[in-house]
Symmetry: C2
Subunit: 437 residues, 2 copies
Amino acid sequence: MKQKRYILPESEIPTQWYNIQADMVNKPQPMIHPGTKQPIKAEDLYPLFAEECARQEVNQTDRWIDIPEDVREKYAYYRCTPLVRAYGLEEALGTPAHIYFKNESVNPLGSHKLNSAIPQAYYCKQQGVTNVTTETGAGQWGAALSYAAKLYGLDCAVYQVKISYEQKPYRRSIMNVFDALVTPSPSMSTRAGKDILTADPNHQGSLGTAISEAVELAMTTPNCKYLLGSVLSHVCLHQTVIGLEAEKQMAMAGEYPDIVIGCFGGGSNFSGISFPFLRHNLLDGKKTRFIAAEPASCPKLTKGEFKYDFGDETGLTPLIPMFSLGHDFRPANIHAGGLRYHGAGAIVSQLLKDGLIEATDIRQLDSFAAGVLFARAEGIIPAPESCHAIAAAVNEANKCKESGEQKVILFNLSGHGLVDMSAYDQYISGTLANTGD
Amino acid sequence: MKQKRYILPESEIPTQWYNIQADMVNKPQPMIHPGTKQPIKAEDLYPLFAEECARQEVNQTDRWIDIPEDVREKYAYYRCTPLVRAYGLEEALGTPAHIYFKNESVNPLGSHKLNSAIPQAYYCKQQGVTNVTTETGAGQWGAALSYAAKLYGLDCAVYQVKISYEQKPYRRSIMNVFDALVTPSPSMSTRAGKDILTADPNHQGSLGTAISEAVELAMTTPNCKYLLGSVLSHVCLHQTVIGLEAEKQMAMAGEYPDIVIGCFGGGSNFSGISFPFLRHNLLDGKKTRFIAAEPASCPKLTKGEFKYDFGDETGLTPLIPMFSLGHDFRPANIHAGGLRYHGAGAIVSQLLKDGLIEATDIRQLDSFAAGVLFARAEGIIPAPESCHAIAAAVNEANKCKESGEQKVILFNLSGHGLVDMSAYDQYISGTLANTGD
């Protein structure tokens, strides 16, 4: 019987996260304080983030950072996740390529986001924080944090991008099961939200807007921290458990990826799957290609500008050195809510600037075409975000079909789409817009 | 680190299903042809079912039945499933009991139903069948069969119980992704449906009604077979992969269950988790208790009568020897659509009659209370059906708390509830009825 899934026991859950900054020749430039124009130090971030997360954020020297044992115990609720050989997809495409995917969708919260929600909630609890707040787009991060907060006995408030709140009501329901307070953003509950709604009462929301609201809540609530699900370097760090496991699992399969692909919103799952393999490009002369698949309607990597920009819409965050479409960019209402963000994290931006990774943009209809093809071949309905990675993998596999090359393609299946079925309904009925053309 | 999940490699996917009928002293009585009153032979079922399924249905002698290699390959898409120690739930309850669950919810279609959908579709394909049809309640079986049919290139038509079709629209969407034709039942597309709707235009549907429609479609369509997701002995047979894996995994944990629990609609997941352990009661003197957890609003095991009855509402099926509430029983509109069935399979019915298993009934609000408790402790939102098993496990764990006994409790988490969030919304907002009081 052909081996389909490569499974690691709990004992193989990584004991350390991989900090790629230590191995980068050109380090990411520091974040800048918008008032003082000085580089941000860890202490500057303490009011906003858990202190350990703030220290991880600016750590450019330690290659390996220990994962607390309690976090590993919580990871064991769903990790290690399987690496899967996509025989069904290969057959459907008729490609000589070997396609693998890391299946983060088996996580009971539905995506990779829990990999960072657990340690962030853990570090908050450790320093006596009682309340946490965040933004969420499609709701994957909000759902993950709601659960992580419940695990550690923290009160959790989530600002969900309004268009996603309406498109994906079940995600709000999931957060409610975990006792989180969910508010559609922009809302009248913050100064930032009020300003935005006053200027545009029909504003559909964006991650940038929701971040503004969550940051404001954290800054005006005692003993409350703000937690972010992507973009920041410590979030990408936590996500490296994905690639570290995949590295071992690819070895079990006796292969090494020629191409590694992740969908791209702010960078968390792309970084997670890529960085551990990228270190072998940086250190061991490997020549793997790394492709970030972003939506054509929000093309910060392929059409954005590298500059210092705010992480949120109203300018409450530090300035981040990143590829950006501008912090006031208003993305189209695509269903991949987790990819509707104007900028890219500092590490990924530097890597792209230095030509160490690539980016590609995917149109909405192409993403769903790939997603349905994948579902029928592999039995898993992918998240609209993940459909972008699948579409990029399909493109590369089709190139192999033309050239006859038997390349090894690995992509990250960041989440399942079972709570996004209205998007599939629209796609199948032919009413979905190809936003981004 | 305490071990949380017990994982088996693909090579440990069972090679044979366990046929408990071979080990029963009192065999289930045969099904009876309603016209001739003669016992049903395999050949009598050929018009309706795949021939191999018909043979398995009446096989009371072979203890082990080989799983085709192609079916094992498809099982490898999601099996072996994890056995999980519910430390979080134990802590939340403060019980000395050790609670384990077999996690069938990691299946990408969301439930254990694929375990039988794959072999049934395989056997149809093998004998040249081109079309399959079935009924579905909550949609777990319909979703599983839609995918299995797609895997084997079969056209699939599903009659979904109308109340579930409306309560759980995402399940229909999932079936549509796999190209199935989904019709709410009762419908005007069959004689049976027309008769029911003529008598009661507001009929909300039931599994019995939907079975009538699917059976009629199979009998009136060339080269079309009817496939059933529960009740029948060959379905229970296929589901024994659950318990066979769990047996090995409990041994990995160094424990053996004192109590095994499954929720109960027609018997498929309960049989799957129970029969492999029950064989050690039958053959090796073990004293494990087996508890079928049914909804209080559809209490065929606790309040039904053991008799020959039809499997469907209008009387198209053979007569089955079973505990039944009457084939025209109209269950309340509880959210656990998969449990809204009037009868129990012949094997389970005989086992209950002989005192080899037990049954308990759970009210809807108690089931959701247990489900939310479990979700917050373990991070998995369970299907409304599975909530009944959890509630029964919680009851047993609470008894251990009172008595101080450290019993080992194993239940089957038959599926996740991510497509059933409207039910959780109602529960959390306090508007859910305690139907069945």
